[in-house]
Amino acid sequence: MDRRLLARQLSAIENGEMQVEHVEGDVIAITGPPGVGKSCIVDAILHRLSPNKKIAVLAVDPTSPISGGALLGDRIRLSVLDDKTKSDSIYFRSVATRSSSGSIPSIVRDLASHLLANSFDLVLIETVGAGQSEIRCAAIANRIVVVEGPARGDGIQAEKAGLLELADLIIVNKSDLDGSDRVVNDLTISLGLTADAPPIIKTSVVNGDGLEELAEIFSNLDARNSSKRARFRQQLLMAHESLLTQNPQFEHVLDRMSEEGLALEDALRELSE
């Protein structure tokens, strides 16, 4: 693979200078709250998948709403990139959310399509640290892995509607810390009431607990049927938002709203024209 060319094409897509046809393929989102270990889980999985598989990772970090800049720090966790037997079959790219809302910018759908069209077998998307209702990844990925951790609230948190309902696999990471058994228990009880409950697995990237089992489950991960309509709903919402944010006047209209007091209704009208 010509990594340099690929990297430049992805930039062109990100900057709106290159159009991409949508390609169906294997796209898995890894999502969950900030700091639960999403990047380390991605690393642990990549270490255990076959080097014969070409895998791309798109790791999303937030853009500053103030400066427009971003610190993209997911790459630090990826020790698999230092493994010479693996590093040539893995392409890792940091992506900033830019003007998009939610845990994944809509452009990631195009980036993933381009990677699939360039003979990648699997695209992993690591979302921004995401909360209970950040389900935008359903628009892009055909399977969703939710990473959770201990001490993130009581059993009622596990009962709440949202992201957990769309998970095809739930990982409770940091099992070396106290409280992870309780989280697994709460989730098992809560999701046990659904017809096609996702598998729940306990892992620790620190001591290696559960990682082999995780790689096994991950390699044969099925999508659940119940989330189909939700996926289309997210695709529609995302497409609608792209129309707005990819309008060349978007930043200019924002400036006029903040500096000249342009009204919201007028701004919306100008951007929809």
Binding site: S11, S64, S67, G68, G73
Partner: protein, 145 residues
């Protein structure tokens, strides 16, 4: 926003001091750029691979261990070998004045020592991004006198 660059901030070699690199990364972020931080103790090969995969236009090398005379030119050389000729290299950390001319000659376009105002680094990025001063451009320009 316009003028946004993708910038890799890297720590080459056996050097555990990352305070400066993190401060610079933060200043560039606050200046509206997308910054990819490599983490500590990277080899020149790993840094060049990161620059290539991330399609970065700039790389900032931080060294406080004294190995800059070996590591900085090595990275410049690997960038040219990888045909990443338009990447603009700058450096910082503890780099003695008498070492700097040789580093400029190897392709480094700016060296920022302790006490540099972060605005100066942003000015350099803005200025250099409009110039043809990549590591393989053949340019002999460097920032400052």
């Amino acid at each position: 926003m316009s003028g946004r660059q993708r910038i890799v901030i890297a720590k080459p070699g056996l050097d555990g001091h990352d305070r400066g690199a993190k401060v610079v990364a933060r200043a560039l972020r606050d200046g509206g750029h997308e910054v990819i931080y490599t983490g500590l103790r990277r080899t020149p090969q790993q840094i060049v691979r990161t620059i290539m995969d991330e399609d970065a236009r700039f790389v900032g090398l931080s060294s406080l261990s004294g190995a800059h005379n070996h590591l900085f030119p090595k990275i410049c050389e690997l960038l040219r070998e990888s045909e990443l000729n338009d990447v603009i290299v700058f450096g910082g950390g503890i780099i003695p004045i008498e070492d700097r001319q040789a580093l400029y000659a190897s392709g480094v376009r700016a060296i920022f020592g302790p006490g540099t105002p972060s605005q100066e680094i942003l000015d350099f990025v803005n200025h250099a991004s409009s110039m043809d001063c990549g590591v393989g451009s053949g340019s002999s320009w460097h920032w400052g006198e």
